[in-house]
């Protein structure tokens, strides 16, 4: 004779075991090993307009690992991308902060190494379509990856940015809080900031706010009251419009010197004339530009 209470208890126990068995590996397995995201938390809703990921595209992955490991104290995990190609994940403490992938050098010698930010959008495919209609190029068409659905576009001025819609929500603001070696800001240097702002408003859905700063106009790209990125007129006409990724440091001058000692190059040293000494612009050994931003004390 069966006992209902015992059957119910046994069923509940089995459910718990099954859920635990499922949760353990999915928590955190990359194609090549364990991927521990327990130090990160994700929003339940997409954080539209937020830069939710950054990839380093580099022509020398070994030099990049040495450089960023020494400069920011990052640790690395080797994974694979779809198709089995190598992909390195970088961690700062318990948080995954970036990815790194190697690309082959071009035969014509033109450099490819860059930091590529990914902005959260509601729908990648429709954002790509809006971008193309507004004069952008499509560097990589929409496709599914481990994060979710992504694409990369070349905006009408030639700056490259990624679009992303995560499957599990975006890293929340506590996960991406400023800190040493963390991405703290993303900024577009544009020839025509107002036109560029209009483009990103239509593609991403940003709210645009222009403020007076240091004798000029600085444009903030916002969503739901949060500043997500900035735009200002590029300081030199000869410069290619570019999205710049800012990393937090305690001392920009010291960090720039360290970057140079590690094989990078200082493009703009920290100086009182450059935002009151709060930043320096450097490249890593393969030429990718990054900004070293002094953290607020």
């Amino acid at each position: 004779m069966r006992r209902p209470v015992l059957d119910t208890a046994r069923a509940c126990f089995s459910v718990v075991i099954v859920v635990l068995l499922a949760a353990l590996p999915s928590g955190c397995v990359s194609p090549s090993g364990k991927l521990d995201t327990s130090g990160m938390s994700f929003s339940s809703e997409p954080l539209i307009g937020k830069i939710v990921w950054n990839d380093l595209i580099t022509e020398d992955i070994d030099a990049a690992r040495r450089f960023y490991g020494e400069l920011f104290g990052w640790t690395f995990e080797s994974t694979t991308r779809p198709g089995g190609r190598p992909y390195t994940l970088a961690r700062s403490g318990k948080v995954y902060v970036a990815g790194m992938l190697q690309v082959d050098a071009r035969a014509d010698g033109k450099r490819l190494s860059r930091w590529l930010p990914y902005v959260s959008v509601t729908d990648v495919d429709s954002a790509v379509a809006r971008a193309a209609a507004a004069g952008a190029g499509v560097a990589v068409g929409a496709r599914d990856v481990s994060l979710g659905r992504v694409a990369a576009i070349v905006d009408p001025e030639g700056a490259v940015i990624g679009l992303a819609r995560s499957r599990i929500g975006d890293p929340d603001d506590s996960t991406t809080a400023p800190g040493p070696g963390r991405v703290v800001w993303t900024e577009l240097l544009a020839n025509d900031p107002q036109t560029a702002a209009g483009f990103y408003r239509s593609v991403v859905g940003y709210e645009v706010r222009t403020i007076a700063r240091r004798g000029g106009q600085y444009t903030l790209l916002m969503n739901r009251g949060s500043d997500r990125a900035g735009i200002f007129k590029k300081p030199a006409d000869e410069m290619q419009s570019v999205w710049l990724t800012y990393f937090g440091v305690d001392d920009p001058a010291a960090a720039a010197a360290r970057a140079q000692a590690l094989g990078g190059k200082v493009l703009l040293p920290a100086s009182p004339q450059l935002r009151e000494g709060s930043m320096a612009v450097v490249t890593d050994p393969s030429g990718a530009v990054l900004v070293l931003q002094k953290l607020a004390s």
Partner: protein, 50 residues
Amino acid sequence: MRGIRITGWVLLFLSALSLSGCSGSVGVGLSVGVPVGDHGYISVGGGRWL
């Protein structure tokens, strides 16, 4: 009956897998082969960073 029960457990397992919320979904890795241009010009106009 046994087949139905096994199918049920498999479905439960897959549901838990998809809802566990810790699916290791970080990283993108698109190969974007767009030349970056000459970044040397960034060194020009350091006093014009707003």
